[in-house]
Amino acid sequence: MTEPDPNPLEYAPALESATVAALRERYRPFIGGEFTDGSGAVFSSVNPATGETLAEITGSAESDVDRAVNAAEDAFRGHWGSISGTDRAKYLFRIARLLQERSRELGVLETLDTGKPVRQATEFDLPNAAAWFLHYAGWADKLDHAGFGPSPAPLGVTGQVVPSNFPLLLLAQRVAPALACGSTVVVKPSERTPLTALVFGEICEQAGLPSGTVNVLPGDSESGASLLAHRGVRHAVFTGSTEVGERVRRDLAGRGKRVTSELGGDGVNIVFADAAPEEAVRSVVEGAFFNQGRVRCAGSRLLVEESVAEEFVARLRDRMAELRVGDPMDRNTDVGALGSSAEVERLSELVERGVAEGATRWTVPATPPRHGDFMAPTLLTGVQQSMSVARREVFGPVLSVLTFRTAREAVTKADNTPYGLAAGVWSEKGSRALWTARELRTGVVWANTFHRFDPTAPFGGRGESGNGRVGGAAGLEAYLDV
């Protein structure tokens, strides 16, 4: 061996330039094809990584919701609801291309607004958003053949409330099928992350989309509630927490609207003793900490077979220690900032409660920036089914480790939550993976991988994880009168 190396290979900060995002001082609602001042309160959007105010946004009041829904109704009746599928596809293709052309701008803007690592925004969020439009552009003229009978009709105006973890991608996943089916859209982005949705309005304009077909209303949860409850909205789509989703469903019951909700999850990775260890470790880490764990289908629980648990957890710690936590604008960063300081507090409390209930805590030895809403990835070992951290949605960079002895026990433990969104199964034995996948009560099961999203594959949950499906032909159903 040689003497210790004085200069181990260092990674230089590879900072993306904030100017790429073309930030403006003020953003306004996009209603009826125009950016107009809203009548709601002015609020600001903050960069959670630095605490800096990015821009001011005029919010939407009841009257703006009215105007937007009316514009969408007019667009539906006047044009969009009756043009041919081929014509609708033309616009969707244009939007997809514009998203691709402006992907760096939008990726950086998304990073500034959400705190997610810029590499993820530009290499995951944006390409996927464009892919969703491309996929549904293909469906627009083939609805007769999607399996819903001849000439399935669009519903009319859809009101959509989109959360803050993947603002533009989740918008694309919901707006693309709605437009492909002939519905018009009023979308309300999260008040914490409205910027890319408003630039999306601009893209609709650039694409020459008939005015009123897509409307974007920045605002708070009240604007969201009044949008979904508006009598002109035929289809209410809510994506967010289970708590709010249940309230939405209750409030809208019996109003003659279709309600689609995509809610929380308490995802799990099941690792059998014969799994490919290195890849399983990598994927468990990715599954738990991708997008700071702020993913509805995050694998926030790990169920590992008892016989390999000790070795697996040791590898897990090694791999977690490699995660680079810090400035989201650095292309080397793996874990960026959480959405807000309230999130950091909520998660710290959750971890403390886990420790108080008997779990052992380990946090990666990273020193995240002091300003900004960061939390170092945290591992809780010795977690039991009864502990609160195993029972509820984590939605942050916290991974709980539980063990199991038999495949049946693994399935029972995995399913023992009110949710049922996503699971990963790790085994080199195909029959075992297939059996486990069949037994699990979740909407999505990944085998020997995790967090693979594709517009062709339906995605959605069971139980308290919601009732909608996005993606593929199944994703059309919610937007058609079938």
Binding site: M1, T2, D5, N7, P8, L9, E10, Y11, A12, P13, A14, R119, E123, D274, A275, A276, P277, E278, E279, A280, R282, S283, E322, R331, N332, E428, N448, T449
Partner: protein, 326 residues
């Protein structure tokens, strides 16, 4: 195995639990087949993700110098002769005459019949002489001829021997035969370092690359090397990850450090830095030394030199500023 005609020096015997794996062919087969699997999708994802790490500025300049010092400058053509070897030897000693602070390369890699020439040309330079052997690149010859080739290369003064494994035997599941051959070559090497070329492009998948890596390490390889450069695909990042993971686990289990050499297809500085990042992340920073990591390449060196100048002067100088060594 136990009854192999020439036994290897005791220090190359794997310690403890791993010694059990080399007791006889059945034990070796059990061990190799019992190794945990490699998941191709996950492996390739990780390799791609790590390739995105940025090394810039000062760190890049140091990485370039480090990479230059790890190059096994290679010429393995039918047209090779003494003059070609002398030209490359001069390049190996002084890669860039305009910048005397550029480190010399690690070794010059040639065919066995040119070892004497290379040794003469490199005397006193500190640059090693590596010789391919065992009927490179196919490995298809009789065991006696292969061993004789190794002995001749070492007698001619080679410091390092790059052997190829018998892929035919490996793919037929005759692990014992492959093991014996490596062990015999190891013995014939004497003090020379042994690099074992797995020719991963012919092994048909990462699981086999993983098994072959362990097989070579168990049989006493100082280095595991991906490819001859004569088969496509040659070195790739995911395959190199597998080798790096093997030497890392080998050290975790035995305390011994073994090296890795990707060869073939690494032509640019960008590629080289991606490999260095993989070394740092998969094996560990300890492996960032020519003693434990080499690049088998011919064209890479000039690109490293051009990029080095770019880092120093802030602009490209063009390919005419570096020497073409024919």
């Amino acid at each position: 195995m136990a009854d192999s005609p020439s036994s290897s020096p005791p220090e190359t015997r794997p310690p403890g639990e791993l010694a059990e794996a080399t007791r006889d062919e059945a034990a070796l087969t059990r061990f190799l087949r019992g190794l945990p699997g490699i998941d191709a999708v996950g492996l390739e994802q990780r390799a791609a993700a790590l390739a995105g790490r940025a090394v810039k500025g000062e760190a890049k300049l140091r990485a370039i110098d480090r990479a230059v010092g790890m190059v096994d400058l290679t010429t393995l053509e039918g047209a090779d002769n003494a003059s070609k070897v002398r030209a490359l030897a001069a390049k190996a000693r002084t890669p860039d005459s305009r910048f005397p602070d550029v480190p010399r390369v690690a070794a010059l890699c040639v065919y066995p019949d040119l070892v004497t020439e290379a040794v003469t040309a490199l005397r006193g330079s500190g640059v090693g002489v590596a010789s391919v052997a065992t009927a490179f690149p196919s490995g298809r010859s009789t065991p006696r001829a292969k061993l004789a080739e190794v002995e001749l290369a070492v007698e001619s003064g080679a410091d390092e021997v790059d052997m190829v494994i018998d892929r035919g035997a490996f793919l037929a599941g005759e692990y014992g035969r492959v093991f014996d051959e490596i062990e015999q070559v190891r013995a014939a090497c004497g003090p020379a370092h042994l690099k074992v070329i797995l020719e991963t492009g012919e092994l048909g998948g990462y699981d086999n690359v993983w098994r072959a890596s362990w097989l070579a390490l168990l049989a006493g390889a100082d280095f595991v090397k991906t490819s001859t450069g004569k088969v496509s695909p040659a070195a790739t990042l995911p395959v190199t990850h597998v080798l790096l993971r093997a030497v890392r686990e080998w050290r975790d289990r035995t305390g011994q450090s073994r090296g890795v050499k990707p060869a073939g297809g690494i032509r640019t500085t960008k590629d080289a830095i991606r490999y260095l990042v993989a070394v740092r992340e998969v094996a560990g920073p300890d492996w960032l030394t020519p003693e434990l990591f080499r690049f088998g390449a011919s064209g890479l060196l000039n690109d490293l030199l051009m990029q080095r100048e770019t880092q120093l002067h802030g602009h490209y100088s063009g390919p005419d500023q570096v020497t073409v060594d024919l």
